[in-house]
Every structure is written in C-alpha cells, then in structure tokens.
C-alpha cells in the first residue's frame, strides 16, 4: 500500500541500545527541534488587521435569494430541511395572498424560515437540494451572539435585501461546473427548473 | 546569642516536653484509629527529642543533639515499616480500627 505520508516510520520492537536508553541524546535532539522552530517564521495571521483570503467556494452564512424582481424564490418545499444532515432548518409554509405577487414568486412561500446556526455544519446540502435556486451559502461569516436564541437565524437575517445594490452575489457558486453537475440524473428535479430557466 | 537560654529555666522545658509526652501517651490509650495512635507515638518521640535538645543545650554537650538524629532516623524507619504494615493490613481488613483486630483474642 502506498504510504500516506512521507514521515511515517515502521515501528520495530527492537531492544534499545545504551545510548538510546539514556534518552539524553533524544531529548537534546527534541529540544534542538523546538529551538529551531523558535526561530522560524511565524505563521500567525493577525486577524482583524490581516485577513486570509477565502476560498472561492467557501461556505459561510446562508442567504435566501430573491429573483430579479425582488420576490423571494423560496416556495417552502422543504427539500432543504429534508436534505439537511444536522436538521438545522425549519420552516412554516404559507399561501400567497392577493397583492403579494411582488413579494413571493410563487403561490406558496415560507412564512417562517429558520436555520439554527449552532447546528448547521455548513455542508451545503441545502443549497444542492434546493430546486428553486433559493438558498445559497455565502462567503460571509456567521456573526456571534450572546444568547443561544440569537443563533437561530430567521428570515430577517437570511433573506437578502430588496435593494439591488445590496443583493448578495452568489455567481461564484453558479459556475458552469455547478450547472453541469446539477444535470446529473440524480438532480432531475433541478433540471426541470433549469430547463424552464432556459426556456 | 550566647545567653540565649538563660532566661528560660530548664524546668520549663522538662514540663513542656513531659506534657507533650503524656499527651502522646493519652492519645495511644484514648483513640482507636490506628493512624492516630501512630501519630501519638510520633508525638511522644518528638517530646523526647525536645527534652534531649534541651538537656544537650544545658549540658553544653552536643551528644544529645546527635542522639536526636538517631531518634529521627528510627522514627523515619519505623514509619516506613509501620505504614507498610498498615497498608497490607488494610488490604485484607478494610479497617484501621484497632478494636477490629481482635481475631487473635481468646
């Protein structure tokens, strides 16, 4: 089998020589190593001042997208909640009333949509499960809070702002590769939407 | 430093160490817990040491203080052995109450 790492050593139960048994050379060797590290370049990033680049597909805070008209895409189908391995997502569906067409894209919408950020593992399965391209994970970090209740993010924190300028850009997460990937038969339910999108 | 002791009569030391000694004796007779009996014996030895040092000082003879060393040596050795026996005993009886140790009576 191929070695997993270059540093692995094969353990042998051989009798130690005297030099090995007095341990002092080994200890000194160890100390030399630590001392070497003492003078090595430090890898610390001074966080607030310096920030590390996020990866392109960093999975951060969720966002519930609006469509180009500003209506919420989510239809409260519940697929995301089903897909969620941490069972972090809950929602309550409601029927769109007259006059709300600008707010909700379809007849059904999520009256309450909550993600418990303490449970969420940021795996992105909700994103994959969503047939309406409604939920995405962004590169923003989840803010901390003083109370547990504060970590249950409702629609107030999840739905992106109406304002066009303040919309959250998730184009990075909608690359061609992603689209291709979603064509997989397993994601047939998505393809319906994609077709409709193309159509 | 030379007249260090002159203020204190030797009697005082004798009375003090005798009192401590007798408290030790009382402890041995009074208590049932082996460990405390044991400590009372230590107290007796210590009272003796005090008297030895006092005598040594008043005689102007270092031998008494040297003897205290041997007392301490003996005390240390005794403790080692005694506690070892205590532990061995405890393994079997789960008790250090000396009145439980009456299987040998009769």
């Amino acid at each position: 089998m191929q070695a997993l790492t270059t540093r692995s050593k094969i353990a042998v139960n051989k009798k130690m020589t005297f030099m090995e048994r007095i341990y002092i050379p080994a200890i000194l060797g160890g100390m030399a190593i630590t001392l070497r590290h003492f003078f090595k370049k430090k890898v610390t990033i001074q966080y607030p001042e310096q920030q590390r680049e996020f990866a392109p597909i960093y999975r951060g805070h969720h966002v519930l997208k609006r469509d180009e008209n500003g209506a919420e895409r989510c239809t409260a189908c519940g697929l995301c909640a089903v897909a969620c391995p941490a069972e972090a997502i809950t929602m309550v569906a409601a029927e769109r009333k007259k006059g709300e067409e600008a707010l909700y894209r379809e007849e059904k919408y999520a009256e309450i949509y909550e993600i418990n950020m303490l449970r969420c593992i940021f795996c992105g399965l909700c994103e994959e499960a969503c047939p309406k391209e409604a939920i995405f994970l962004t590169d923003e970090m989840v803010l901390t809070d003083y109370a547990r209740a504060g970590f249950v993010h409702g629609k107030d924190k999840l739905v992106e702002p109406m304002d066009k300028d303040k919309r959250i850009d998730v184009s990075k997460r909608q690359t061609k590769e992603v689209a291709e990937f979603k064509k997989h038969p397993e994601y047939a339910h998505n393809q319906v939407y994609t077709k409709s999108l193309k159509a | 430093m030379q007249q260090n002791i002159h203020g204190i009569p030797l009697d005082w030391f004798i009375i003090l160490s005798t009192t401590l000694f007798c408290i030790g004796v009382m402890g041995v007779l009074f208590r049932r817990n082996a460990i405390i009996i044991f400590m009372s014996i230590e107290l007796m030895l210590n009272a003796t040491n005090l008297l030895l040092v006092a005598f040594s000082a008043y005689h102007g003879d270092a031998a008494g203080q040297v003897f205290v060393f041997f007392t301490m040596a003996v005390a240390a050795a005794e403790i080692a052995v005694g506690l070892a026996i205590l532990v061995v005993m405890y393994r079997n009886t789960k008790s250090v109450d000396i009145d439980v140790l009456n299987r040998l009576k009769g």
């Binding site: 200890i27 160890g30 100390m31 190593i33 630590t34 001392l35 590290h37 003492f38 003078f39 090595k40 370049k41 430090k42 890898v43 610390t44 001074q46 | -």
Partner: protein, 345 residues
C-alpha cells in the same frame, strides 16, 4: 550600622526580593505563553500593550474579577489554606539566595542577601518539603477524586525526588564543604563553577528540580488531560491564581538555586580581572545572576514545550531506579575523587 538601620535595610531587601519574585512570576506566565507560541511557530499574546507585555496584568485582573467558587462539600478552611501555603512556601525560599556580592555604601557593608544562615541549603530543602502540603491540602480539601489523585501524585512524587535531590546536594556539599549558599556562591569565582566538578549531580538536581516544581514532563499532579487539572480542579479565581503563581515563583527560585549552586551565582568568568569597583561589580553580579536565572527559566519552558508527560510508573522508575542509584554513585564517586586528591583524611 545601627540596629534600626539594619532592620530597615533588611526590610527593604525583603520587599525587593518579594516584589521581584512576584514580578518575575508574573512575567513568567507571559514568557511561557510567548515561548510556547514561538516554539509552535506562533506569535503568542501581543494585544495587551506592546508585544502583549501587559497581558499578565490583564490576566491578574481577570483572576481577581472572576467568581469565587468554594465547593459545597469541601473543607472551607483547608480549601483556602492550600493555595496560601503553596504561595507562602514558594515566596520564603528567596530569603537565603545571595543575589549578588556586597554593596559598600558609606562604610557599611550591605550584603545582597536577605539572610545568610549557615545551613541555607537545608533551609531550602525544608521549605521545599513543606511546599507539598499546599498541594496535598488543597487537593484533599476539594473533596474531588481528581484533586485527591493529584494530591497523592504530588506527595509521592515530591518525596521520591527529594531523596535524589538531597543526595545530589550532598555530593555538592562534599565538594564545597559548606551548607551556606553565600559561601558556595562566593567560592565559584572565575571558571570554578560547580558544574565542572559536579556534572552528574547537576543533571540529577535539574531533573529533580523539574519534578519538585511540578513542571512538564513531571506535571502529573495537575495533568489536565487525565486529571482535569489535578489538585486545582476545583479552584477558581485568585486561589487558582495563587497556585499558578506559586508554580512560577518556584520555577524562578529553582532557577536561582541552580544558578547559585552550579553556575557560579553572581560570578562570571574574567569579570574579576577587569578590576571593577566593588559596588559596580556587585551590581554587575546581579545582572549576571539574573541572566543565568532567565536562561534557566527559559530552559524550564523549553523543556516543557518539547517533552511529553511521563507516565506515573515511568516517573517512579526514573526516580527510584535511576536517579537515586545514580546520585548515590555520584556521592561515592565524589568521595573517592576527594580521597584520591587528598582532600579528606
């Protein structure tokens, strides 16, 4: 010097030593974190003040502010007594260490040592042996099994290593012929550091010093991974602070003792040839001594962040089966050498 003047001078000295001890202990915590960070390629605390230099103060403040919790089923008095003893014993050791030569001011001689008792080494041994009570009482009074285990470990470890330590010192005393730390320090002029004459004794002493101060790799009494902090599991706030502080003061004092016993104390080779004035030499001596002390404090930390913790049986084996025979051998060897060189009759 009048008696009053003497008293004032001594009181001042005590105050200084005490303060220095505390300050160094404080900054040892900082240094520890810094060293640890550096050895792990990190930066360590650097927010409070420049380079994080105010970090100890912040920590201290935090300790004071924290909620004080005394377990309900513990023994209140002993619970408080434990850290106090630990703190007390670690502080009073500094009294016999010669921090430098003597200052000559206005015809008076001011030795830079709180008190020069002729059995200074024994004094240190005595105080060290009392020190274990702090841990044992604290551990027992907590009424917590982890604490109790920690206390047990501490006591057996201390007693075991004290023997080897004492034997190592005996070899040293055989060589120096005195138990006074002042004399031992004074006689190591030039290159005549005791480390040259007592290398094995030094190694034994060093290892024992690690064990006596409960430093890694001998920190079994508090080993957080198995005993959740050992004897101070139940402690919080300033009482915990006392324990931690005591450990760092111990480290400081141990370093000072090692430096004094084996590394020439306030002496430095070639300095005496420069013909400096007495007072300047004495002050320079203080500097030398402290530089040695700092090195050893660093060494303590260095070892801590290099070596893993011993297992309990390994600890005992090392103490009883290696160090004690070795130290006895060392004593015998020293005696033989002294006999060969005609220093005993």
């Amino acid at each position: 010097m009048t008696f009053t003047g003497f008293l004032i001078y001594k009181a001042l000295l005590v105050l200084i030593v005490f303060t220095i001890s505390l300050v160094i202990a404080m900054y040892s915590t900082y240094a520890e974190r810094k060293v640890a960070a550096f050895m792990q390629d990190r930066l360590g605390p650097n927010r409070a003040g420049p380079f994080g230099l105010l970090q100890p103060l912040a920590d201290g403040l935090k300790m004071f502010m924290k909620e004080e919790i005394i377990p309900n089923v513990s023994n209140k008095f002993l619970f408080i007594l434990g850290p106090s003893i630990a703190m007390f014993t670690s502080c009073v050791t500094g009294a016999v260490i010669p921090w430098g030569g003597s200052l000559h001011i206005g015809g008076n001689v001011y030795p830079l040592q709180v008190t020069d008792i002729n059995i200074g080494i024994l004094y240190i041994m005595a105080i060290t042996s009392i020190g274990v009570y702090g841990i044992m009482i604290g551990g027992w009074a907590s009424n917590n099994k982890y604490s109790l285990l920690g206390a047990l470990r501490a006591s057996s470890q201390m007693i075991s290593y004290e023997i080897a330590m004492g034997l190592a010192i005996i070899a040293l005393v055989m060589h120096t012929g005195t138990l006074s730390l002042n004399k031992i320090a004074a006689m190591q002029t030039g290159w005549h550091w005791n480390i040259i004459y007592q290398p094995v004794g030094f190694i034994i002493f060093l290892i024992c010093a690690f064990a006596e101060t409960n430093r890694t790799p001998f920190d079994l009494p508090e080993s957080d991974s198995e005993l959740i902090g050992g004897y101070h599991t139940e402690y919080s706030s300033m009482k915990l602070g006392f324990y931690l502080f005591a450990e760092y003061i111990n480290m400081f004092i141990s370093s000072a003792i090692i430096a004094t016993l084996y590394f020439g104390g306030y002496h430095m080779p070639f300095i005496d040839r420069l013909g400096l004035s007495d007072n300047f030499g004495a002050i320079l001596g203080i500097v030398f001594l402290f530089s040695k002390i700092f090195f050893f404090i660093f060494f303590f930390m260095w070892v801590r962040w290099t070596l893993p913790r011993f297992r309990y049986d390994q600890l005992m084996n090392l103490g009883w089966k290696v160090l004690i025979p070795l130290s006895i051998f060392n004593v015998a060897f020293t005696g033989t050498l002294m006999w060969i060189f005609g220093r005993i009759h």
